[in-house]
């Protein structure tokens, strides 16, 4: 077994220990309340913890199978997220072919380029090629009604759910000297600091949150976000051994990823509010859809990728 494999096993076991703690906490709270009492917050929390068990198992197994496993896992997550996104966007039958191309050609190609490590291609494929070619396909059908809205919303969906998500597995293509096999651990680093930061932001926000950041959109508070980001930085510092950043670099990168993720969550909340929905879908019990679960990671991934590439990659 390589040291990377051992590290992945340690991270997965560590996550399971955290989950045992969270499950234990929930069961203690459950048994302390009256047998007939209904506590929706607690039940939501427990459903979420259950979903996290599944997610940790999936990501852990994918990482043990290596690069291909992680790439395929995020390709499927992208597919589910794009499906949720395009279900709510404006479209006409004239877009049928361009939307089908988005699902069955653009998405697989993007992940194929990531798997082939063709960085020059996966960085521009959706912002340039898909951006220009899909509207042409739509325009050929000759329906101008709401055309700009239709193509803009489709492109936005592709950028968020395919381009941004694909930058998580793209982290494995970065090289820091050596043979590059440790780059896979950056996936774990990004996902863990952002998701744990979110969890603690929620916790502190409910405890000490006072001033809402965007009252019309989300219950997020400045106090919650502040505590969440500081927690993410501490967790990032603690995980610096799996990164090439060093302790302070890891704290800084974790903080940036966490801030971008939390504000990205506000953007996604604004879209949901605009479309009048609470969740993107029902696919992850307790969390809503894949977009609900991934929103902060989605926003953080490309920025985390490019900062890492610029400052640390060989």
């Amino acid at each position: 077994m390589t040291t990377t494999t051992v590290d992945i096993i340690w991270l997965t076991l560590g996550s399971f220990i955290i989950l045992v703690g969270l499950t234990f906490l929930g069961e203690v709270l459950r048994s302390r309340q009256d047998a007939n009492a209904q506590n929706p917050v607690l039940e939501t929390y427990m459903t979420r913890v259950q979903s996290w068990w599944g997610m940790v198992a999936f990501i852990g197994l994918a990482m043990l199978t290596g690069k291909i496993g992680v790439t395929i896992l995020f390709a499927f997550a992208s597919f589910a997220a794009l499906r949720e996104f395009l279900t709510l966007t404006t479209k006409a039958q004239a877009d049928h072919l361009s939307l089908a191309l988005a699902f069955f050609v653009v998405l697989p190609l993007q992940y194929f380029f990531v798997a082939m490590e063709w960085a020059g291609l996966y960085a521009v494929f959706i912002p340039v090629y898909a951006f220009l070619l899909l509207p042409i396909v739509s325009a050929l059908r000759g329906n101008a009604n709401k055309f700009l809205i239709r193509v803009a919303e489709t492109q936005w969906g592709l950028m968020i759910t395919v381009f941004c998500v694909s930058h998580v597995p793209a982290l494995m293509n970065l090289r820091f000297g050596g043979n590059g096999e440790r780059a896979i651990l950056l996936v774990a680093f990004l996902v863990m600091v952002v998701q744990l930061g979110d969890l603690l932001e929620y916790f502190f926000g409910r405890r000490i949150g006072r001033r809402k950041i965007a009252p019309g959109l989300s219950p997020k508070t400045w106090e919650g976000v502040g505590c969440g980001v500081i927690s993410a930085m501490l967790i990032g510092g603690g995980l610096s051994w799996i990164t090439p950043f060093g302790i302070f670099g890891a704290m800084l990168m974790a903080g940036i990823a966490s801030i971008v993720g939390m504000f990205g969550n506000l953007v996604i909340a604004a879209i949901k509010r605009d479309r009048g929905v609470k969740d993107w879908s029902h696919l992850i019990p307790g969390q809503g859809g894949f977009v609900d679960q991934l929103d902060s990671v989605v926003f953080a991934a490309p920025i985390f990728y490019h900062l890492t590439k610029f400052f640390w990659a060989a």
């Binding site: 039958q93 699902f103 929905v277 879908s281």
Partner: protein, 213 residues
């Protein structure tokens, strides 16, 4: 041979459900009733040939075993594959729509109901190609409710399928499909056909999920 055909029908049924789930993540939203095995007539909007398989796919196994979609014979007997899938996988009640055939559709439907089956019907009679939510209902739903007043008529809204698989397109789009089941309606005492059909249509359109655009 009979065993093999039945087995093949089971396998094809599983594949259809797997395909529906993989592409559209189809799910049931039981708003007005519980998914319990009672005799029911599920009546639904009809925008795509995929409507019936979607409803069939989201029903729990115990309900699916008892349900028979009412469908057009000219469609399901067109070729050998359809003639297998329609009657044997979905267990359709086939209605002959040709004018020269003196086949009483309501007799077949009542016969199926009297055997204890639940039904899936599309009271608009044809696929809705317009921008309206529903076409005017045919009399069939009223006649069923009148003849078998104890059976629940359950409004069943299938969302998004006209975008997933519009007429004339070959590739289905993977968008999320939700099948919403509402509170059952019954024909009231002395209620006219028009009043009942309007009420039933309203009960159905009320289930349409609201998405602002």
């Amino acid at each position: 041979m009979k065993f093999l055909r039945a087995f093949a029908a089971r396998v094809v049924g599983h594949c259809i459900r797997l395909f529906a789930r993989a592409i559209t993540a189809v799910r049931a939203d039981w708003q007005g009733i519980e998914p319990v095995p009672r005799q029911r007539v599920y009546y639904s909007n009809h925008t795509s040939n995929g409507d019936m398989p979607m409803i069939w796919s989201v029903l729990p196994p115990a309900l699916r075993r008892e349900v028979r979609p009412v469908a057009a014979a000219d469609y399901w007997l067109k070729n050998k594959v359809r003639a297998f899938v329609g009657p044997e996988v979905f267990n359709c009640v086939l209605i002959d729509r040709r004018p020269e055939v003196d086949d009483k559709p309501m007799d077949k439907i009542l016969e199926a109901l009297d055997e204890g089956a639940s039904l899936i019907i599309f009271p608009e009679g044809n696929r809705n190609m317009t921008d309206a939510d529903l076409l005017p209902f045919k009399a069939g739903l009223y006649n069923m409710g009148l003849a078998r007043p104890e059976i629940d008529l359950v409004p069943t809204w299938v969302a998004n399928l006209n975008t997933i698989m519009p007429k004339g397109e070959i590739i289905p789009l993977p968008l999320i499909c939700t099948v919403t089941f509402g509170a059952p309606v019954h024909v009231g005492k002395g209620e006219s056909k028009e009043a009942f059909l309007a009420r039933a249509a309203k009960a159905l359109t009320d289930l349409k999920p609201v998405v602002a655009t």
